[in-house]
């Protein structure tokens, strides 16, 4: 009952998943790239929110706009060619998109921080680990270089790096990929951010290391209480990490649901396809590292052309003529479960 009242309100303001206690609200975010050969609609009218302490997974195939979404939140897009053409990104009600750059710098690394996909290239090769972790603390918490270094040692211990006192003086090339990603995590958590944006933090790592990093992240989440936006290719990981899932396709949010709901009753054929590919390969967890979400036949449409109808139609086995001319809008198909598909009821029946 409560859910229906809430959803009625949400419809009135045109938002989904709105929550009074939301830490981050992304509303109608559209980020386009204005390139020489056309406009790339990398993120198109995407909305979602993250509550304090919550982990939200963002999944989708390569090129569907996951990284562009996270860089939009961080305000780290190269302009030009990228431009946020509409929308709001509110952190505790404050719109980050209207903040002056100097204010935004106080948010970055302090209130929101980010872990990148490539641990091998994301650390500066000519500065020591300690310096790179410490400088965030010097910057945002006004610590002295010395204090920052001893905090860096503590942080390295927190992410389970052995011999932290020695490692703190080392350079990134002296560390393995997994260790570097631990350093990235230590760096991101240094100022106890309210929100951590993790853009495929384990994709580049070996399977065993992946599992360790994921365990570390869940562990640290318990300790620090930071909310996490967990971006991944791998639906298999999502079940362990996240409470809620946002599925993106061709720059759009096509489904959003609590994780159990999504796994049990996907409401969008794309999500169902992703889940199928997980189930097919899921038996051997050793495969996880290499597996990408590309087992659905067909390819992601070009984001340069205006897409008519449902962007998934060319690859969708449920597609009807209707799907090819009209674009489905995101609707609440079940409590807290949103999907943009004309035939999601048909899909739900089949799944049952």
């Amino acid at each position: 009952m409560v859910a229906t009242i809430e959803s009625a309100e949400e419809d009135a303001v045109g938002q989904q998943g709105h929550d009074e206690s939301a830490l981050l609200e992304v509303e109608g975010l559209s980020t386009y790239f204005f390139t020489r050969d056309g406009v790339v609609r990398a993120v198109d009218d995407v909305s979602f929110s993250v509550a304090a302490g919550e982990t939200v997974a963002v999944v989708g195939e390569s090129g569907c706009g996951k990284s562009v979404t996270s860089l939009s939140i961080m305000g780290l897009l190269q302009t030009p060619p990228a431009r946020i053409v509409s929308g709001h990104i509110k952190l505790q009600g404050r719109d980050l998109l209207t903040l002056p750059e100097s204010e935004m710098r106080k948010v970055r690394g302090n209130e929101i921080s980010m872990i990148f996909q490539e641990p091998m290239t994301s650390l500066n090769p000519v500065l020591t680990i300690g310096r790179q972790i410490g400088e965030t603390l010097v910057l945002h918490e006004g610590l002295s270089e010395k204090e920052a270094e001893s905090r860096a040692v503590e942080l390295l211990r927190l992410v389970n790096i052995p011999e932290a006192e020695r490692r703190v003086r080392e350079y990134p090339h002296q560390l393995s990929g997994g260790m570097r990603q631990r350093v990235m995590i230590a760096m991101a958590l240094a100022c106890q951010p309210k929100l951590l944006v993790a853009d495929e933090p384990t994709t580049a790592l070996d399977v065993t290391i992946q599992a360790q990093i994921l365990e570390l992240m869940s562990d640290l989440k318990q300790k620090t209480g930071s909310a996490i936006i967990f971006i991944t290719h791998d639906l298999g990981v999502v079940a362990e990490m996240a409470e809620r899932v946002v599925v993106m396709y061709a720059g759009k949010k096509v489904e959003e649901a609590p994780v159990v709901d999504l796994f049990e009753r996907p409401r969008h054929p794309y999500t169902a396809g992703l889940l199928d590919s997980v189930l097919k390969l899921g038996s051997s967890s050793g495969e996880r590292g290499k597996r990408r979400l590309n087992e659905i036949p067909g390819t992601v449409p070009s984001l340069k052309d205006e897409i008519v109808g449902c962007p998934f139609a060319p690859r969708c086995s449920y597609a009807t003529d209707y799907c090819r001319t009209d674009a489905p809008v995101l609707e609440e198909k079940a409590p807290e479960h949103f999907a943009a598909c004309f035939h999601s009821d048909q899909l739900a029946e089949q799944e049952n």
Partner: protein, 313 residues
């Protein structure tokens, strides 16, 4: 680190040996007989042969090389054919103006070019970038003597704020010393600065597109911190390399600059020596320049370790 430097120093010995051999051979095999020049137009064959024997010019190649290199190792670069004074003394006399000129040129060029290159990279594609790079093309393509005469015309003749020519030793007062060096340094430094600015920009541009620069920004660092703390040190290796190469270019430029500005330095000494075929002086100066060049190379190599911890020694 220390053992690396020692090791590198030892490695320069064979290099210097080869340089010495080349310098010696160059003049040994070049046409023109110093004995004939010394003897003068009126001398008989007999006189010339006598002079040749006196100077050891009749000795075989390797004997002459051995004698010469033996002297060099003891600081004896031979005696000027023309003035009959030790080459080492002549070089020492002319050393100060040239050192002053090259050092001030390097300071001017680096101080100008590195910041400009960084700004150009940071503002890549904007008007600022295009203006800086336009100047770089200009500095690179206009000959030293044209820049020199243009500067003299503007600052000495029209504005009358700087002396036209000449050199004042630092021992005679710092201000006149600097005043006399400004124009020559600018003229000589233009090419050098253009080169460094271009490389700095290119190197910074490459670094700025790296993932770790994005990481630095994601921490909330400002532009200055990102550029100077995170990017510049990564971009330093090519920049330092080009500064090293620039020193070699400078040595060529010094000759022209000293001539235009009437600075009594090594460049002038060399030009005069070449005109008179004063072989020992030419050999001495080339050897000195080569030595400086090898030494600068060594410095550059050692500096890599300072900038990039991945480089092992």
């Amino acid at each position: 680190m220390f053992s690396y430097i020692v090791q590198r120093l030892l490695a320069t010995i064979p290099v210097m040996g080869v340089v010495a051999l080349v310098v010696f051979s160059l003049l040994y095999f070049s046409p023109g007989d110093p004995a004939t020049i010394i003897a003068g137009d009126m001398a008989s064959e007999e006189d010339v042969r006598e002079i040749r024997e006196q100077m050891g010019l009749d000795q075989p190649y390797f004997v002459r090389f051995g004698t010469w290199i033996g002297g060099v190792l003891q600081g004896d670069l031979g005696t000027s054919i023309f003035t009959n004074r030790p080459v080492a003394d002549l070089i020492m006399q002319r050393l100060e103006p040239t050192v002053a000129l090259t050092v001030s040129t390097m300071i001017v060029a680096v101080a100008l070019a590195v910041p400009l290159g960084i700004i150009a990279a940071w503002k890549a594609g904007t008007a600022i970038d295009r203006i800086v790079m336009g100047f770089a093309v200009l500095g690179f393509s206009v000959p030293v003597f044209v820049i020199a005469y243009t500067l003299i015309l503007i600052f000495s003749v029209w504005l009358e704020v700087l002396p036209v020519q000449g050199y004042v030793s630092i021992t005679e007062g710092f201000l006149p010393f600097v005043q006399h060096l400004i124009l020559p340094s600018l003229a000589l430094g233009a090419v050098f600065a253009a080169l460094i600015a271009r490389i700095t920009r290119a190197s910074m541009l490459e670094v700025l597109s790296q993932d770790y620069v994005r990481t630095a920004k994601s921490k909330g660092l400002n532009q200055k911190e990102v550029l100077l703390r995170h990017a510049l040190k990564n971009a330093a290796v090519p920049i330092v390399t080009i500064i090293g190469i620039g020193v070699a270019l400078l040595i060529g430029g010094v000759v022209i600059t000293e001539t235009v500005f009437a600075i009594p330095g090594l460049g002038r000494l060399t030009v005069d020596a070449i005109l008179r075929r004063d072989y020992p002086i030419i050999q001495g100066v080339i050897l000195l320049f080569s030595f400086v060049y090898v030494f600068i190379n060594l410095l550059v190599d050692v500096s890599y370790c300072f900038f990039d911890p991945r480089i092992r020694y």
